[in-house]
Amino acid sequence: MSTQMVEATKKEYQYGFHDPEKYTFKARKGLDKEIVEEISWMKSEPAWMRDFRLRSLEQFVAKPMPTWGADLSELQFDNIYYYLKATDRQGKTWEEVPDTIKNTFDRLGIPEAERKFLAGVGAQYESEVIYHNLKEEWEKLGVVFVDTDTAVREYPDLVKEYFGTIIPPSDNKFAALNSAVWSGGSFIYVPKGVKVDIPLQAYFRINAQNMGQFERTLIICDEGSQVHYVEGCTAPIYSSDSLHSAVVEIIVKKGARCRYTTIQNWSVNVYNLVTKRAVAYEDATMEWIDGNLGSKVTMKYPAVYMLGKGAKAEILSIAFAGHGQNLDAGGKVVHGAPHTTSTITSKSISKDGGRSSYRGLLKVAKGAVGCKSNVRCDALILDEHSRSDTYPYIEIDENDVAIGHEASVSKIGEEQLFYLMSRGVSENEAATMIVNGFIEPLVKELPMEYAVEMNRLIQLQMEGSVG
C-alpha cells in the first residue's frame, strides 16, 4: 500500500463518527436489518444512505424470485456473507485456490502479484501506481473516477441526485438486494463537453472493494461529454462467494457518448445476477459491450432507455457457456422518444453441455415515431449435449417504425473444420479459430489488450482447461 493511501485511510478513521478500534464487525452469514445497519455504520455513511439501504432491504424481502430465466432454486440467501472486510476476505491462502484456476493463470501468463489478487488472496494490485498517474490527468479535466464508497463521502450531492434513480430498489429482487448491501464499484462523473480519450479501466485499480460481490456503479456523462469505461478482466476471478449481484446505473445526457465494456470470467461456482441500465437523452449514444465467460449462472441484460429524440443504443453481447454453466444474457432497448436508433447483436456459444440463451426486449412507446431497431442473435453449438435458446420480447405501440430481427443457430461446420485442418491445423486449433471468428465482430470492438486476452481465453476454454 502506498504511504499516500495509508495516510488517507488513517484520516478517514480519524474523522469517522465511531471509533473503529472499539468495534469489531463480525462477519456472519444471512441478511437482516442488523447486518444492513452494520454495513452502513462500518462505512460511516450519512443517514440518507442508511435509510435507502433499509428501505431496499424491505423490498428485497417482499419481492418474489424471478420465475423466468435460469434456475435459481439452489441459491440460498441464508448461506451467504453479505459484507466482509477486506481483511476477512484475504484470510484465504494460495494453497486453497483450486489447481484449475492456478493453471489458467499460468496459461494466460498473469503476473505473480496479480494472480494472488485475482484469486482473492492478495491485497492490492500493483498497477495502483499507473492509476494514480492517470488520475491526475483526469482530475485536471474535472473528471471524477473513484470508488462509490468514496463518492458517497466526497461527492454527496452528485451521488444523492442520481443514485437509485435509474434502477430503483423496487426494480427487481436482486437490484433491491444490491441496494441494501452494496459495497464498492465505480463512480464516474464526466463534466460537460469533456472527452476522455483513454478508457477508464477498473482493471487498473482492482482491489478487494471493487471486486466485491455487490458492487454499485454510477456513471454520469454530462452534456456533450464522452467516456469509455472498462471493467473486469479475462483472467478467471476466483471467488468463494457464491453470489455476485451488481447494479450499474448510467446517465448519458444530451449529445454525450458512453461506452461500457465488461469482460466477466467468474469461477464456475458463482451466480452472477447483474442489473445494468442506462438512460440516453437527446442525441446521446450509449453502448454496452458485454462478454460473459465464467460463472455457474449469469442473468444479465444491459438496458438502454432512449428518452430524448435522436438517442442511440448499441448492445453487443457475447456468452460462452461450458460444462455446468447457464448463461442467460442479452439486452433491452426502450424507444421512448422519436427518431431513436438501437442495435442489439448477440453471439452465444455452448459447449460440453453448457446452455446459453439470448433474452432481449425491444419496446417502442406510442409517439416514438421514426425509430429504427435491429436485433441480431447468432448461436454456435459445439456439440450435441449443449443448448442454445432465443427469447426475443417485442412490444411495439407505434406504427411508424423500422424493425429488423434475425436469429441463427449453427453447429460448428464439418466443412469448415476440414478446410482448416487440410492446411495442417489440428482439430482443436481449427475449432478455436472458428469460435474466435464467430465472436470476432464483437472482439474487434474491445480495447486491444482485452481482445488479445479474449482470444487466448477462448483457446483455453476450448481445451476445457478453464476452471
Partner: protein
C-alpha cells in the same frame, strides 16, 4: 529422391454408396498428372479422400506417401506430411483473418517438417512475423494479388476467381510435396488463368507433384501435364500422354462411355 504418392485399388463410399471402385494412381514430385472425367465420375471424391475428409469412407485399398499409410492420418497430419488440396469450392470462414490463419498453418506445417514438435502443437510458436510477411508478400506478388487481400476473412465474400487464387496462395506458402488442384481453372478469367498457371509452374519444378483435376484443355496449354488420366464411374479407365487431352476435346466422353459401360446417373 523425390516423394511419391501411391493410390492402390482405392474403394470409397459416400453415405453408404460406392463412388470410387478401385482407383490406381501414382504421382511423383516433379510430375504433373491431369485427371479428367465427366461430372459425377468421382474426381472430387478422390481429392477429398486423399486429403482426409472424414465423410469419405475408404472400404478397400491403400494410399501411401513415401511408403507411409496416409489413411491412418487425419487431414491435419496429412497436410503436415506435405499433401495439399486446392478445393473446388473453398469454404468461407467468417471472422478468421486470412493472414493470421496462414501464419498459423505455415507454422504448424513447417514445424512438423523440421521435427519441431513444440511449434506443431496448438498454441505453439508461430514463425516470426517479419519472416512470414516477407514470404507472404512475395507469394502475393507472384499471384498478382493485392496485399490488402489477406486482411479479409478467409474466403468470406470472395468472388469465384478470388477463391481459386487464394487456394494457390496457400499452396505457395505451405510448399506441399503433392498438390491436388480440384478444378482450380474453373471460374478464372483468361488473365487470372495465366497468372495462376504461371504460379503453379513456378512452384512445381522438381519439388511438387501435381494432380490437376480439370474439364478443360485450356489450362493444359499453360501447365503441361506429363500424364493424363480419365476417371469414369469410379475407376481410372484410360491413362496416356498429353495427346489424350486433344482427343477428349474433340470427341468428348462418348467413346469412353461406349467402351467402359453405362453413363453415370445425373
Amino acid at each position: 529422391m523425390g516423394s511419391e504418392l501411391v493410390v492402390r485399388d482405392l474403394h470409397v463410399n459416400v453415405e453408404g454408396k460406392e463412388i470410387l471402385k478401385g482407383v490406381n494412381l501414382q504421382v511423383r514430385q516433379g510430375e504433373v498428372h491431369a485427371l479428367m472425367g465427366p461430372n459425377g465420375s468421382g474426381k472430387s471424391t478422390l481429392a477429398y479422400t486423399l486429403a482426409g475428409h472424414p465423410k469419405y469412407e475408404v472400404t478397400d485399398g491403400e494410399v501411401l506417401l513415401d511408403g507411409e499409410n496416409l489413411l491412418e492420418m487425419g487431414a491435419d497430419e496429412r497436410a503436415r506430411k506435405g499433401i495439399f488440396l486446392a478445393f473446388q469450392y473453398p469454404t468461407a470462414i467468417p471472422g478468421v483473418n486470412m493472414a493470421n490463419f496462414l501464419r498459423t498453418a505455415v507454422s504448424r506445417v513447417r514445424a512438423a517438417q523440421s521435427d519441431n514438435a513444440g511449434s506443431a502443437r496448438d498454441g505453439g510458436e508461430l514463425i516470426p512475423m517479419r519472416e512470414f510477411r516477407k514470404e507472404l508478400n512475395s507469394s502475393l506478388s507472384m499471384l498478382k494479388m493485392e496485399s490488402d487481400f489477406v486482411r479479409r476473412y478467409l474466403n468470406d465474400g470472395f468472388s469465384g476467381g478470388e477463391k481459386k487464387r487464394a487456394e494457390i496462395l496457400q499452396m505457395a506458402l505451405l510448399r506441399p510435396k503433392i498438390a491436388i488442384l480440384d478444378e482450380t481453372d474453373s471460374g478464372l478469367d483468361i488473365d487470372a488463368l495465366r497468372v495462376v498457371s504461371e504460379g503453379v509452374n513456378a512452384l512445381s519444378g522438381t519439388n511438387l507433384g501435381v494432380l490437376l483435376i480439370t474439364h478443360y484443355q485450356r489450362i493444359l496449354n499453360y501447365i503441361k501435364p506429363n500424364f493424363i488420366h480419365i476417371l469414369f464411374n469410379g475407376r481410372v479407365v484410360v491413362s496416356g500422354g498429353p495427346e489424350l487431352a486433344s482427343v477428349l476435346e474433340e470427341k468428348g466422353y462418348d467413346w469412353v462411355r461406349t467402351e467402359f459401360g453405362e453413363p453415370v446417373a445425373g
